[in-house]
């Protein structure tokens, strides 16, 4: 991985999902900063200035929706693209995610390759 690799923030309380996402993105040349909970994700978002965040919705404590809202409220991260990783696929849940400020969502079980493609598509538009 080169020093100027694009940084992606991954936040999920499940270490297996963090490992799967991290591996797929790192092998594609991205630099990953990973968090297991919402507050850590927010800290990393402010300190590492990632180009994109992949956030789990259902996390104990602070949900991915709440993390999204907080990131949108801060000028440092208000424009950072966010993909929500969720086991929910009901229309109202998807709508809630977009209302909170997410740019896209992927439902679990997920395809790591599809997640990478979606991330690339969003980064390409910016």
């Amino acid at each position: 991985m080169s020093d100027d690799a694009v940084t992606i923030l991954v936040c999920d309380d499940d270490p297996d999902i963090r490992a799967l996402v991290t591996y797929r993105f790192e092998t594609a040349g991205y630099r990953i900063v990973a968090a297991g909970d919402g507050p850590t994700a927010i800290e990393l978002a402010f300190s590492e200035s990632p180009a994109l965040a992949v956030l789990d919705v259902m996390m104990p404590g602070m949900s991915g929706m709440e993390v999204t809202r907080r990131l949108r409220e801060d000028p440092r991260t208000e424009r950072m693209p966010i993909i929500l990783l969720t086991s929910r696929s009901l229309d109202k849940d998807v709508t809630s995610g977009f209302d909170a400020g997410a740019d896209d969502y992927v439902t679990k079980p997920f395809s790591p390759q599809e997640l990478l493609h979606r991330a690339r598509a969003i980064l390409g538009r910016r």
Partner: protein, 331 residues
């Protein structure tokens, strides 16, 4: 006498010490095993991720292969698409899969159940026939494990057998329903075909499942079931129509308010409330004022769901008074 009691006390104390020591020993052994398993899983982590990504890996020891199988089984629950296919491709050639296929017909029920459960996380479609056979196992745990695994594998060819299990409660109903729901709309054609089967329990279960998985496009088949000779099927058809939310079924559901069976009338009333059919309000108010407790309760709450303003001014039965109070609170 005193001597005998003293000896007994010493023997019991010694037995206690031995039991305590063996419990501590077992606990320590469990911790050691757990630590060793975690170390092995950490050692094969990169190999597992490489396999999920479709890359080849170096050969592993037997213990490492077991750890790899455990990690991949966890990953199989999290991923779909090519990643899941890569996991299946690994397992198909692995000793773990061969062992599970052998063990699903083993002598001991716990081995059969463990194998049936494990097969669901290996993602190998070739295991589906063995799992369908396991649905006839004499042990309930084996049947439940096979049901769960068929759902994980999305085995639509098992829809008929699973609906039968749901109808006969051969497996906890939640497990069967979850398995069928995991298959999603791909299960619908087979479920719809079961709506006309002779066994009324299967018809009722299939109707319920079409309501859970289907959309407004399936309403025609559900409306037909409103005329079923079995009250359980008519009830499930009404509930299903309420769930898929078809307003065009309003007239047929309205007619069901005169069904001879109370729980069918209750289901029809609830469905009318769910689809928000205003034309049904007068009939629902009349039903809430005069019917038996359960249908009257359902009718009153349907009025509340359709028109809270109307519900706030109705009276004439305890059920209507209750929804009038509720409507006042909701205003």
């Amino acid at each position: 006498m005193l001597h005998v009691l003293a000896i007994t006390a010493v023997v019991l104390a010694a037995a206690n010490v031995v039991a305590l020591a063996s419990l501590i020993g077992m606990r320590v052994q469990l911790r050691v095993d757990e630590k060793r398993r975690a170390q092995l899983e950490a050692r094969v982590a990169d190999s597992a991720l490489a396999l999920v990504d479709g890359r080849s890996i170096e050969s592993l020891t037997r213990d490492e292969q077991r750890a790899l199988a455990a990690v991949l089984a966890r990953y199989a629950r999290l991923v779909r698409g090519d990643a899941r296919k890569n996991i299946a491709a690994y397992f198909e050639r692995s000793p773990a899969y061969a062992d599970a296929i052998r063990s699903v017909t083993a002598l001991y029920a716990w081995r059969r159940a463990s194998a049936a459960f494990a097969l669901g996380d290996m993602a190998v479609e070739a295991s589906i026939p063995a799992l369908i056979d396991a649905l006839d196992d004499k042990d309930r745990d084996v049947r439940a494990a096979a049901t769960r695994s068929l759902g994980r594998l999305g085995a639509v060819e098992a829809v008929e057998a699973l609906t039968q299990m749901l109808a006969t409660a051969a497996v906890p109903q939640q497990i069967v329903a979850t398995a069928l729901l995991q298959m999603g709309e791909r299960a619908l054609p087979r479920l719809t075909a079961l709506l006309a089967t002779d066994d009324l329990r299967v018809r009722a279960s299939a109707t319920q499942l079409v309501g859970l998985l289907g959309t407004a496009a399936d309403s025609h088949e559900l409306i037909e079931r409103l005329g079923d000779p079995a009250a359980e099927v008519r009830e499930q058809a009404a509930i299903a129509l309420g769930r898929v939310g078809v307003r065009s079924a309003g007239a047929e559901l309205l007619a069901m308010l005169d069904d001879r069976v109370g729980f069918v009338r209750a289901a029809a009333a609830t469905a009318l409330g769910a689809i928000g059919d205003r034309a049904a309000v007068p009939a629902l108010v009349a039903m809430a004022a005069s019917d038996l407790f359960e249908p009257a309760h359902a009718a009153a709450h349907a009025v509340l769901a359709i028109d809270p303003n109307e519900a706030a001014v109705v009276s004439g039965s305890p059920q209507l008074d209750e929804v009038a109070d509720l409507a006042a609170v909701l205003r």
